[in-house]
């Protein structure tokens, strides 16, 4: 049953081949026997209750497309009555008293939450090694990292522990783990999915999206997740399309741009080979390929690592040990309460980024760092605007390498380089996808698609056509 895609499960539920309760119990059993550490919290009782309600809805023909489908929910989304930790000791005791908009939409659609998936603390990381709850293992090789920050979600879908998962992507956190785990992941245009109730890392970059086996599955999930939210001032009131509508459109004549900056030094040969193979596949389907330049993309890393820390240094100030979350024992005074609660509650990487951000925003440094970074951000956006005058989609690798060994990257700056190809889309606010495109040393390689603003349905169409020609997305790790 777990080998089925989301689309196939939807079909089976509709035909009453199985009930939601049956598949929910099946996935719960798989999660419980899994050794991947993909979940922080498993919500078995709640899941079975939701499945029962879903089965009633299906019986009464009161169901939506996704009613009764189970999923893994990244532990960054507030879920009423359920622990919402964001992978941090700071929120280990935090039971969210309200639902995020994404959770609310998924609940209304009748989906079944299996549990809260593991992640890098406050979404800061590219390997999922920054979780207070321990690393997640890559199902393709248990000695490897799954990528991050949505590592638990990616591992869960790859190991068929859930038909789909939610993720959030601030600098690549949906696409990179999707690539490293061999699944399909979509980061929508900034403003497409509400951020309300999604614990903020970097507000101007954060965006939630679906993580699935196939593009078709991703379209179904995005249909539920997307939309304007009056509780999020940065969400767009642009009409939500039916993302499945264009899936079957022909991509003949599609113009693909390959930025030369995405194929320069640092790119692993095995990854490059698979990417070029995938591009050839598109050419065989009638697409044309053109080399383009995104001249400012080399500034994406320094720009991102100013903007994101600045915003997070302020966003995480609310975790002060006063109203909720971790509080140190026996604080001497207010200063001590703040100092120790935050030093003991936050992990090293989170503290590092808070320090960088606080420094960059300080009087006397603001213009040199934050303001300069905002200017470069505009330049990066302009690069893409120019590119999209000539091409329909930008393609390249998601990650310069396949999944690396757990514990192997110790230097934070080397770790930051893992995001080199994904950051630009966040800085520009563009939609991006990772789709399975082959293997190198028995580890998955993801192809990245970056589209123009609000072109999610075009990206899904391109990905779907590719997946009709290839089989990479159907590959599961051996024991799964």
């Amino acid at each position: 049953m777990h080998t089925k895609t989301l689309t196939q499960l939807v079909d089976g539920l509709a035909k009453k081949e199985f009930s939601s309760t049956e598949i929910t119990q099946h996935f719960i059993n798989r999660i419980k026997s899994s050794k991947l550490n993909a979940f922080i919290t498993v919500t078995e009782d709640l899941a079975l209750e939701q499945a029962r309600v879903a089965d009633d809805r299906i019986a009464n023909n009161d169901n939506g497309v996704l009613t009764g489908v189970p999923y893994a929910h990244k532990d960054i989304f507030c879920t009423k009555g359920v622990k919402t930790s964001a992978g941090s000791k700071m929120l280990d005791n935090f039971i969210a008293p309200y639902d995020s908009t994404v959770s609310h939409k998924l609940n209304t659609a009748g989906t079944v939450m299996l549990g809260k998936s593991n992640m890098d603390e406050f979404a800061m990381g590219s390997s999922n090694e920054n979780s207070y709850y321990g690393s997640v293992k890559n199902p393709w090789n248990l000695n490897k990292i799954p990528g991050g920050s949505s590592g638990g979600s990616a591992a869960s879908v790859a190991a068929r522990l859930s038909p789909f998962a939610t993720g959030t992507d601030t600098g690549g956190s949906i696409r990179q783990p999707s690539s490293l785990c061999g699944i399909t992941g979509l980061k929508p245009t900034y403003g497409r999915v509400s951020r309300y109730g999604m614990i903020a890392y970097a507000s101007s970059l954060d965006q939630a999206g679906p993580m699935t086996q196939t593009a078709e599955d991703a379209a179904l999930v995005l249909n539920v997740m997307a939309g304007f939210d009056s509780k999020d001032s940065t969400s767009s009131d642009k009409n939500v399309e039916d993302y499945t509508a264009k899936l079957e459109d022909s991509i003949k004549g599609l113009k693909i741009g390959l930025p030369k900056e995405f194929f320069s030094e640092g790119l692993d040969d095995g990854v490059a080979e698979n990417i070029m193979h995938a591009i050839k596949e598109f050419e065989s389907m009638g697409a044309s390929v053109k080399e383009i330049s995104l001249p400012n993309s080399s500034y994406a890393i320094p720009t991102y690592y100013i903007v994101a820390p600045c915003e997070c240094s302020s966003n995480l100030s609310r975790m002060d040990g006063v109203r909720y979350g971790y509080r140190c024992e026996d604080p001497k005074d207010l200063e001590d309460l703040y100092l120790r609660s935050r030093s003991e509650g936050f992990g090293k990487e989170v503290q590092r980024r808070i320090m960088i951000g606080a420094y960059a925003l300080s009087a006397g440094y603001y213009d040199a760092y934050y303001l300069k970074a905002q200017k470069v951000r505009h330049l990066i956006s302009d690069d893409f605007k120019r590119a999209f005058k000539d091409v329909d989609v930008v393609m390249g690798p998601v990650s310069p390498t396949t999944a690396f060994d757990l514990g192997s990257v110790k230097d934070p700056v080397s770790m930051y380089l893992a995001d080199i190809y994904t950051l630009s889309a966040n800085l520009a606010g563009l939609p991006g996808m990772s789709i399975p495109a082959g293997f190198s040393n028995n580890l998955p390689v993801g192809l990245q698609l970056i589209g123009n603003y609000w072109s999610e349905s075009i990206l899904l169409n391109i990905a779907h056509k590719f997946q009709q020609q290839t089989d990479w997305h159907n590959k599961a790790p051996k024991e799964y």
Partner: protein, 476 residues
């Protein structure tokens, strides 16, 4: 040495919206602690602010009223600092792009008018309240106030005395109430003043080092605090010392100011644009709509009272000094045939005196505007004399009924029947032959005696004018 005082004020006016600036929680004052703080106000993980549009309209109203430039694109910033009553660890405020730019307002002190510059006015959210004296070991935090909309109005350092500062603060206080953007309640903290005070040798152009005075919740305290601070700075400078730039807290009980924190201890607020909020874009349509909705301003109203009602500059000034007073006056004179001047005198005289004495706000006056107007009409149509009217007013104040009811109940109607008055006068003349002789021999003043007798005989109800006329006729 001669010193010149330089004062600038920062006024925090709480905007009187139903809900908070970035959440839908109620702003009502005095609720049970933490009962009016929703997830957004509590700064829970994941919540986001959404701007209350009413707040923008109210700030624009203020800007237009002080002839300021409205920044049709303005930006919210985060002011970062840690404090238990600041739930998010930052306050959403406006730094470089406030909604209201430079404007001005006219004040008058000792009959001299002066224009005070308004540097800017920006929107921000209020913090909660820390209560330090509730528990021995703990500080309690009430977040009901967190997220209440504030308009911070910053003046130029244009004031040269505590009196001028008070006059400016009162002007702004009066204005925000006229505009119906703030209830002006200083006790509840809806209107708060901080004063930046420095002194310099008279004639110097360079500003002296300033101290910022906080925690001032009445105009009386504003004047006292500034004067105390000026004296303190003078003493230091005259002893050869130096002023330290600092924030000082005014203690109204001890009547002193004391240092709260110096510039060196001040926070680096690490301001940056709030990424959760888009820049505010104000359309031309909204601007012109608010322009047409703008109420008559105090200065305009005063000018109209002078031209339309022929009131003196002083009377018009008094009646327009408070919106509620002007509203009362206008209601009273809206009743046809009212003698406007007489009405104004009664409001400024007996009514204000009674209100002051009993510490009652005019909006809660026991005598409503319609009733006062009726009383004035009864004087004007000779039903009662001005003197009797004072007694009627007292009865009305005590809730004994309307003017007509009191007059009827107590039989206070003036006697205007001349035959009745004539017969009374005849008997007085007959009974007081010596006085009649005095009058006839040229003592005109003695007429007062006869009037007094006549009034006494009628219990004050005779029309004095009529009595006077009849007496003269009979005696000559």
């Amino acid at each position: 040495m001669n010193w010149e005082t330089v004062i600038g004020l920062e006024i925090h006016a709480q905007l009187n919206t139903k809900s908070k600036i970035f959440s839908s929680a109620s702003t009502e004052y005095g609720a049970k602690p933490n009962s009016q703080a929703c997830a957004v106000d509590l700064g829970l993980p994941g919540v986001l602010p959404v701007l209350n549009k009413e707040v923008v309209s109210k700030a624009i109203k203020f800007g237009l009223a002080v002839k300021a430039k409205i920044n049709q694109r303005n930006i919210f910033d985060r002011k970062n600092y840690f404090y238990p009553d600041l739930p998010k660890g930052y306050q959403i405020s406006q730094l470089d792009w406030p909604i209201v730019g430079e404007g001005q307002i006219e004040i008058s002190v000792d009959n001299n008018t002066k224009v005070i510059g308004v540097t800017r006015a920006h929107l921000e959210e209020d913090a909660g309240k820390s209560i330090h004296d509730l528990y021995d070991e703990y500080t309690a935090v009430d977040l009901n106030r967190a997220g209440t909309p504030l308009l911070e109005i910053v003046s130029e350092p244009d004031m040269r005395s505590a009196k001028e500062a008070v006059s400016y603060a009162k002007k702004i206080h009066e204005l925000v109430q006229y505009l119906d953007i703030c209830d002006g309640n200083m006790q509840e903290g809806s209107f708060r003043c901080d004063a930046n005070v420095s002194i310099r040798p008279a004639g110097d152009n360079k500003l002296g080092t300033r101290a910022e005075l906080k925690n001032i919740n009445s105009f009386k305290f504003l004047e006292r605090a500034i004067n105390l601070e000026v004296d303190r700075q003078q003493d230091i400078l005259e002893d050869g010392g130096e002023i330290v730039q600092e924030t000082r807290l005014y203690d109204s009980i001890k009547n002193e100011t004391r240092s709260m924190r110096s510039k060196e201890e001040a926070n680096d607020y690490r301001y940056f644009p709030d990424p959760d909020l888009l820049p505010v874009e104000i359309s031309d349509e909204l601007m012109s709509q608010i322009m047409t909705e703008l109420p008559e301003l105090p200065s305009e109203k005063k000018a109209r009272y002078i031209s339309e009602f022929e009131l003196s500059e002083y009377d018009a000034g008094v009646l327009t000094s408070q919106k509620s007073l002007a509203d009362y006056f206008e209601k009273a004179v809206s009743i046809s045939n009212t003698n406007v001047k007489l009405c104004a005198n009664w409001i400024m005289g007996d009514l204000l005196a009674a209100l002051n004495k009993e510490q009652v706000d005019i909006t809660n006056s026991p005598i409503c505007a319609e009733d006062l107007s009726l009383l004035v009409s009864r004087i004007d149509d000779d039903t009662i004399s001005g003197k009797i009217a004072k007694d009627v007013f007292k009865s009305m104040w005590n809730g004994e009924g309307s003017a007509d009811e009191v007059i009827k109940e107590k039989g206070l109607k003036q006697i205007t029947d001349s035959s009745e008055i004539e017969s009374i006068i005849d008997s007085i003349i007959a009974a007081n032959a010596p006085q009649v002789e005095q009058f006839k021999s040229g003592n005109e003043k003695i007429i007062g005696f006869f009037v007094g007798q006549a009034m006494k005989a009628t219990g004050g109800k005779a029309n004095p004018k009529q009595v006077n006329e009849l007496l003269r006729k009979k005696l000559t």
